[in-house]
């Protein structure tokens, strides 16, 4: 059992190492190694799932030092949460590998790509299996690295290179908080291991709950970075510069969900009733993120960007759920969302592939006829995302709305609006991209993609439908509480959202050639993402680059120039002065000699 767990963690690393060191030249072999390692990990994950026992294993990474510090462990914790998450990660991972075989087949740096994928699988599995926060932080950062590598796969494109940099740096800011949180948590509880945190929580020593709350918020900052919550959400849309399968894997299904996963870990380990302010903050941040992202999504033209904002929005949902102390709902949505969002991304990948890397939905159109199967799967994904009844998304969203309804009315209203907006923009996407007429040469020449691409699409679309049903969810979902369905306000709200959103989308975008809303002022704000990027650019420019320039200037001027230079100039000046005393003139010498005599006598005889 432990061996299998270690294998799941180690295989992708092995694969990445092998590819990098040995088989980079042999592209085919590289892809094969990576894909088969993904397959094996999936199978192993299923084996673990089938086994179903909670267990953990660890080895000491840094030994204990003193009494307070018990060392850092690299450990694997297998419980329901990690088992389910493992399935999501390896499942989506394998399908994305499979999809990539076709999607990337013309890329010259295929080996590097698959190496990156394997590295990502390794890091992500690490997060999932981590038994303590420091180990989670380690893999957290490694995930950031692999994301950096994969987003920047086409590093020669300046936008891709910049996007990868942005993603890494934004995540770093989140990690800054995460690390503080871990440190504080360590200080407060004396441990960072989840199991020990549970023990601590069960028998809490007297402690200052405010600081625990602050620690939680700091840890949440990590999630804000990784799960792209406001205000650190800016990297995710940009990350769409990476290859589409990467977006599906990392920026839709798994990595961005890691924040939610981590929060779920924390919330299931520590009893948080006493520090309500922290979860509330989290819930609000989630809610606001989801609303803003949904608004932004309504005016995007890039198919991947729309999906990216929808991801943001859905992540906000999940975070909100977790913040409402309903981790089950959040994680359940994570689980369902992973499938249908991966499906949507891979679907968009297929479309982009078919349209020769055209991503603007206004230049597509009429793809329904050209790629019927893709259209079908994409529609299923869209419906799931909208929360159409009987799809997976419906169930999970329902739980979140339910939770919001019970905890906070404003958040519930917000969630309902988001649901409406989701229907609206997804409807827009579907209508513009797949229906209507071909609006460009690229879409005109599009044709159905190959089987290797379709297999993942079909598999995912099946999962997008069934994963919400209790018989699947209870088996596979990381956390799942069965809630009996009832026609409450949540259901009606959801249904209303569906109808209203869909109706608006249909009204505006049926057979539209251009966006009829784009000339509205408010639309401009949405299109420009509330100018957050611009704001950040200014902050970076003034808060960092200008400060850096000023600091550098001061550093050189005052320390380098005035103090150091001053000292050396003073020394040189004194040297010159002394040199001038050495005038070569005996008069001068005699005078100075006499002066010295007077002083010397004075000091010796008359001073004491």
């Amino acid at each position: 059992m432990h061996t299998i767990a270690w294998l799941i963690l180690g295989l992708p690393l092995l694969s990445a190492t092998c590819i990098h060191l040995g088989f980079k030249r042999n592209q085919g072999l590289s892809t094969l190694i990576a894909t088969s390692s993904a397959l094996i990990t999936l199978i192993l994950s299923l084996v673990i799932l089938g086994n179903g026992k909670d267990t953990s294993t660890a080895f000491s990474w840094v030994g204990a030092m003193g009494e307070h510090f018990k060392g850092i462990e690299i450990g694997l914790r297998i419980d329901q949460l990690s088992r389910g998450m493992l399935i999501v990660v390896t499942g989506v991972g394998f399908l994305v590998h499979l999809f990539s075989l076709t999607y990337m087949k013309d890329d010259r740096a295929k080996a590097r790509y698959f190496c990156g994928l394997s590295l990502f699988m390794f890091s992500m599995t690490g997060i999932v299996l981590a038994s303590n926060f420091i180990m989670m932080f380690i893999f957290w950062e490694l995930v950031g690295l692999s994301s950096y590598l994969l987003i920047g796969h086409w590093y020669q494109k300046p936008s891709a290179a910049d996007a990868s940099k942005k993603a890494f740096l934004t995540n770093r800011i989140g990690d800054f908080g995460f690390m503080i949180g871990i440190l504080m948590l360590w200080g407060i509880t004396g441990t960072v291991t989840f199991s020990e945190l549970e023990l601590w929580s069960a028998t809490p020593a007297p402690f200052n709950s405010t600081y625990l709350g602050i620690a939680l918020l700091c840890i949440f900052a990590g999630a804000v970075g990784k799960s792209a919550q406001a205000p650190l959400h800016v990297w995710l849309p940009d990350a769409m510069e990476g290859p589409t399968p990467v977006s599906a894997l990392i920026h839709a299904a798994t990595m961005v969900a890691a924040g939610v996963y981590m929060l779920a870990r924390f919330f299931t380990s520590v009893d948080l009733e006493i520090i309500a302010f922290a979860p509330q903050t989290i819930a609000w941040i989630g809610g606001i993120t989801s609303l803003l992202a949904a608004l932004m999504a309504t005016q995007q033209d890039d198919i991947k960007k729309i999906l990216a904002y929808s991801t943001l929005s859905q992540l906000g949902y999940m975070v909100m759920a977790v913040g409402l102390l309903n981790a089950q709902a959040g994680v359940f949505h994570l689980f369902t969302h992973a499938w249908f969002k991966a499906l949507l991304f891979l679907g968009s990948g297929a479309v982009i592939y078919a349209c020769h890397h055209e991503q603007n939905i206004w230049k597509m159109g009429g793809l329904r006829k050209k790629m019927p199967l893709t259209f079908l799967t994409f529609t299923i994904g869209t419906l799931a995302l909208m929360g159409f009844p009987l799809t997976a998304g419906f169930f999970s969203k329902e739980q979140i709305l339910e939770a919001a309804l019970h905890q906070s009315t404003p958040l519930f209203v917000m969630a309902a609006i988001v649901a409406t907006l989701t229907t609206f923009y997804m409807g827009r996407l579907l209508l513009v991209a797949f229906l209507g007429e071909n609006r460009s040469k690229n879409s005109h020449h599009a044709k159905e993609v190959g089987a290797l691409m379709l297999i993942p699409l079909v598999t995912l679309s099946v999962l997008a439908v069934i994963s919400g049903y209790p018989f699947v969810a209870s088996a596979l979902s990381p956390l799942y509480d069965h809630v009996d369905f009832h026609f409450g306000p949540a259901f009606w709200a959801s249904l209303t959202a569906l109808v209203v959103g869909g109706g608006f989308a249909f009204t505006f975008y049926r057979n539209a050639e251009t966006d009829p809303l784009s000339d509205k002022k408010i639309a401009l704000v949405f299109r420009n993402k509330f100018y957050v990027d611009e704001l950040y650019a200014q902050i970076v420019r003034f808060g960092q680059d200008c400060v850096a320039a000023i600091v550098h200037f001061i550093d050189e001027l005052i320390i380098g120039g005035l103090i150091v230079g001053g000292c050396s100039r003073a020394a040189e000046g004194f040297g010159k002065l002394f040199g001038r005393l050495q005038s070569g003139n005996l008069h001068g010498y005699a005078t100075l000699f006499g002066l010295g005599v007077i002083l010397l006598i004075y000091i010796t005889v008359f001073v004491p």
Binding site: G579, R580, Q582, S583, G584, N585, L586, H587, A590, T591, G594
Partner: protein, 106 residues
């Protein structure tokens, strides 16, 4: 008879005058003379002390006067060598003015 302090004062003033000459004058030979004056002033102090610090037998302490003897000898030797150098300098530079001796400085 005058007191010891009178003699010490005279010798001190004489020494100071010599010092003044060394500082003010430009002619090396005169400067040299002033230096001799300083030595002589020091001799006066010595003799005065030797007369005052009577030795155990009541006579002046002749150690001091012996020292004066050495001083005079040294001064003579110094003058000889010094003047030789000055003459050589004069031959080379046609000057014995200290203001002209500033080829090395800084």
């Amino acid at each position: 008879m005058a007191s010891l302090n009178d003699y010490l004062l005279v010798s001190g003033l004489l020494f100071a005058i010599g010092l003044a000459g060394v500082i003010i004058r430009s002619n090396i030979i005169v400067i040299f003379m002033c230096l001799e004056l300083m030595l002589a002033a020091a001799s006066l102090t010595l003799v005065a002390f030797s007369r005052f610090n009577v030795s155990s037998n009541g006579l002046p302490d002749y150690d001091g006067q012996v020292f004066v003897f050495f001083i005079i000898t040294v001064a003579a030797a110094e003058v000889a060598v010094g003047l030789a150098i000055i003459v050589a300098l004069y031959r080379a530079r046609q000057t014995i003015n200290v203001e002209d001796l500033t080829s090395m400085r800084g």
